[in-house]
Symmetry: D3
Subunit: 223 residues, 6 copies
Amino acid sequence: MHGRILIINPNSSQACTAGIREAVAPFAGPGLPRIEVTQLDEGPPAIVTWRDWFGVAEPLCRRIEAEPAEAYVIGCVSDPGLEAARGVTGKPVVGMFRSAVAAALTRAERFGIIGFTEKSLPRQRRALQSMGVEGNMAGWIPLNLPMHVLTDPIAPQARIAQAARQLADQGAEVIVLGCAGMAGHVGVTMEASGLPVVEPCQAGAAAALLAVVGARMPALLSA
Amino acid sequence: MHGRILIINPNSSQACTAGIREAVAPFAGPGLPRIEVTQLDEGPPAIVTWRDWFGVAEPLCRRIEAEPAEAYVIGCVSDPGLEAARGVTGKPVVGMFRSAVAAALTRAERFGIIGFTEKSLPRQRRALQSMGVEGNMAGWIPLNLPMHVLTDPIAPQARIAQAARQLADQGAEVIVLGCAGMAGHVGVTMEASGLPVVEPCQAGAAAALLAVVGARMPALLSA
Amino acid sequence: MHGRILIINPNSSQACTAGIREAVAPFAGPGLPRIEVTQLDEGPPAIVTWRDWFGVAEPLCRRIEAEPAEAYVIGCVSDPGLEAARGVTGKPVVGMFRSAVAAALTRAERFGIIGFTEKSLPRQRRALQSMGVEGNMAGWIPLNLPMHVLTDPIAPQARIAQAARQLADQGAEVIVLGCAGMAGHVGVTMEASGLPVVEPCQAGAAAALLAVVGARMPALLSA
Amino acid sequence: MHGRILIINPNSSQACTAGIREAVAPFAGPGLPRIEVTQLDEGPPAIVTWRDWFGVAEPLCRRIEAEPAEAYVIGCVSDPGLEAARGVTGKPVVGMFRSAVAAALTRAERFGIIGFTEKSLPRQRRALQSMGVEGNMAGWIPLNLPMHVLTDPIAPQARIAQAARQLADQGAEVIVLGCAGMAGHVGVTMEASGLPVVEPCQAGAAAALLAVVGARMPALLSA
Amino acid sequence: MHGRILIINPNSSQACTAGIREAVAPFAGPGLPRIEVTQLDEGPPAIVTWRDWFGVAEPLCRRIEAEPAEAYVIGCVSDPGLEAARGVTGKPVVGMFRSAVAAALTRAERFGIIGFTEKSLPRQRRALQSMGVEGNMAGWIPLNLPMHVLTDPIAPQARIAQAARQLADQGAEVIVLGCAGMAGHVGVTMEASGLPVVEPCQAGAAAALLAVVGARMPALLSA
Amino acid sequence: MHGRILIINPNSSQACTAGIREAVAPFAGPGLPRIEVTQLDEGPPAIVTWRDWFGVAEPLCRRIEAEPAEAYVIGCVSDPGLEAARGVTGKPVVGMFRSAVAAALTRAERFGIIGFTEKSLPRQRRALQSMGVEGNMAGWIPLNLPMHVLTDPIAPQARIAQAARQLADQGAEVIVLGCAGMAGHVGVTMEASGLPVVEPCQAGAAAALLAVVGARMPALLSA
């Protein structure tokens, strides 16, 4: 029972990678695969444009080919290269965005998303379409803050609280944080909106855990 | 950090409850809430009709009011009483069916469901509609076997394998087991279809774990 | 040709039952089944929560089993227990909400709904999803008035008129009154909006009449 | 209380007009508007092509302008000229097709349609789209029989029974007769399928009755 | 290679016909069919009501029967009589509205439409439904200007610019001009919105050209 | 008026590039931009996998930055890199797949697609979702032939004819050739199915022509 789940952050930001690591730390146990987090040093500082989004697919594939694991999580909330990654390994590959939206749908019918910048919307919309759930999105509000402001523990709180309240007013019943860099702001989002909040790093980890535990199950039962 | 997740099987079958307990056992760790499984002794032997489905809502509500927990899982793959249960507690409540379908959508675009009996379809369809994902279902095939055959480790395998292959032919890219009683048949389903398989007891447990860990997060970070 | 249609009000309000009776009185004729209205004395004063909604299914089923009729109408504009009721009788069972929405779609493409309280929306949305028509709803505006104000002939008129005008502005081409207690306010809704208005007690009665007359038809023709 | 509902058959077939009259005869009562049936003598023998469908709109408008009524029913199960007719009168105008489909949705979630000829499908599909319910259609099966065979009391029964059974197999839970000329075949359709059946002449009449009774209501209540 | 494409303006306005002719003039080449523009002298001055819309179908059919061409374009941005016209010729028939919306979808995901009057919306909505793309419309804003103001080169510019900006704010990524009379205002719409603009006369011409060139292709290749 | 449209074939097959060039040759005229076709020599022999699909985005962007044009067409019927390409130029960029599907919707309501291999389906489905038209696809049938067989003028005809007939049986009213390599088979597809056929190289060219002519229009009118 010695496998691991590998979360690959496709951007080169070590701060971002550290934040992911911290967010998923609670998901550990003797019967569970351990979760490791790495990053693409050759990736862009952040996935901002469609060109960035397309561009990280190839290095993601190479990394997966080079690093064996029981499952992989693409550590960016726009799921770049997901389909390509699935083509280079027989192991489960999940994306943080789809995982977070799926988790939201276990909690309520209508979700709202707080996005990083307005440029992320078309990519997240495409993923929502592939899941069939675009019609269940009550709202999508971008923060449009620089990454260093977003990851500050205090600075973005007023803006995030405002977005959270707005989504609640628009009918959201659960809120998805639309960027891995917002993990520190779960509390302010919950308080401001009065709604459950899904943090995508944790959602990706939970989806990968489930995939691994499920795939191990037949062996366990026959043992 | 001493909370628990309570899975409530709304039927009175102890065998079913035991099967759920076994399926979710791997999800344990020092930083995770423990998972406990109980049942409604006053429930029907199985949720077969709509009348059963409506009827367990009230006892589920009373049980939740009587038994504190950090989160609840409704332990039947038609999510009976889900909305009522959410009205009697401020804690997260998830259903096994929605959790399993959501998990499937983290793995692929089109899912197939192996159902218990054809009577389950309308209830599961209603839940799919509430999630918006009815259009992503590639197929739904009922087994129409008695429960004691279904839970036998060997007897239903040929029928399950056939259903799994049929769903693959219909375009399913991932298979959801549509009944808590099929937990022992993950292996045969995977082998027959060559597809990933989602077991709903585990999916419900993972969804509840994520909800609890996420809600604890602000306290952890500020500590 | 001595049958009857039984409308069962699942709440215990005699005022509400009387209002239904008055609304459906015009639907009488020598070749038509007579329409009778009764209520669940054991029901809640009103169907306000999901727990109420689930809870009346079982007494509705028992009442239907005890009282023979040619067709049944569930007399609450959230169609509680509809599927369960259909399971205990071979006779037609219709709900007032689905009947009213269906009637609206015979009059125009986009409907608006004036709801009793905002708590009714999720239940009505679920029914709309089952009909496939959620996308044709131009707006849904709750009154959030106490029942005794709502049934007053004068007091709620200004609020209702405002809601009706708002729905017209949002693109509604026909308005559905979303509660059996609003039967006295058809006029103000029509005047304020300039649109056709569907009263759900009447819509349920008409749907049941059609079901009975249709089922009698073969006998008539062969006679 | 001396109004009438006028059903206008847009084709010139007197047999068809007589059939409609017979089907709607039961809907009579002292408090109800009387139902009269007429036809367009200048119409085609049947509405077979799109050109026919477009072509009857203008004479329908002229007839409505010439013949006052409390409500109008367009007496063809493809609802020709419906929107134009609504533009020339302030009174309710309903179509038999939309009325029948709406009635089906009060009875079950998935409907099947037995069509006259395969040429009717695109027109009925357009109407279903306008109602938003195309996705709830389980099947559409044309008879492709000549009108004189269709209206024979015996000749088309085997073909109709076969279509009814096929629709049930495809998942239909209620069947809509897709042509006014099939009113005599409600019985065989019910028996063959074991499902409720909606006859469109009656459905149109019931929808118009509801519209008139609802519009009269404010006057009644204030009297 | 001597064929022609015939654009038939179904209204009787010679100014409108001239505008169409000017808009499509650039689409000429030695290997392309020539494009000719004509009008229905018996048509209404403009297609304003549903009655107008239905009414031009028959004269359009007669004109097509009388005037041979390799393809036809219905020269009004509500595609009147399209299905009827297709029934009287084996040659391609396209409508300007569907052509313009289709062209918009080659440029971006979400389109906005500037409509002539609010009365056009229901007809354009019906066409969008038949294409399946109603959900991709970000906004629909009518000008509600008289035709002689609309076709003035200067007078309507402020109103058009305002509508264009509003559509951009509503999320439109491309703008469709919703009336053949707006061909002179492509520039102001582009400038005001910063978005690509589709002019429907040109879109109809391009769709017809493609249809003719495609149908000729096998002959070309085998020559 | 000296601009050009540049079609960039993202694979390295010169045969494929030549085929595109031949298909678009008819679209030439004195008032039209000339159409040039080039290819990515660094591209894969064909776009077969998702990894190929993601991988050509970056070289496509670089090529567009290096080669000025009035508009660009991505010359592969899965529209790889489309969104990235739009981010590196202010000029119109269209994809052959979206252009072909849009063209199909100008011809009929339901389209069928003959695909290259079954691996293309998920990519084309994603594009259909972005257009909103997935529900209008009557069928999708892959040929699963090697490229050298597909481009043979004779060898694949029987298989193509069979697919075309099957799509017609499934309700397709127009057929889209799902690969640039099938341009020589328009004739057999038309004959076998009796339906209009859209060839994607031509559809992409027509969409780009329309974009350029439309954008030039204001200058023309003010001249």
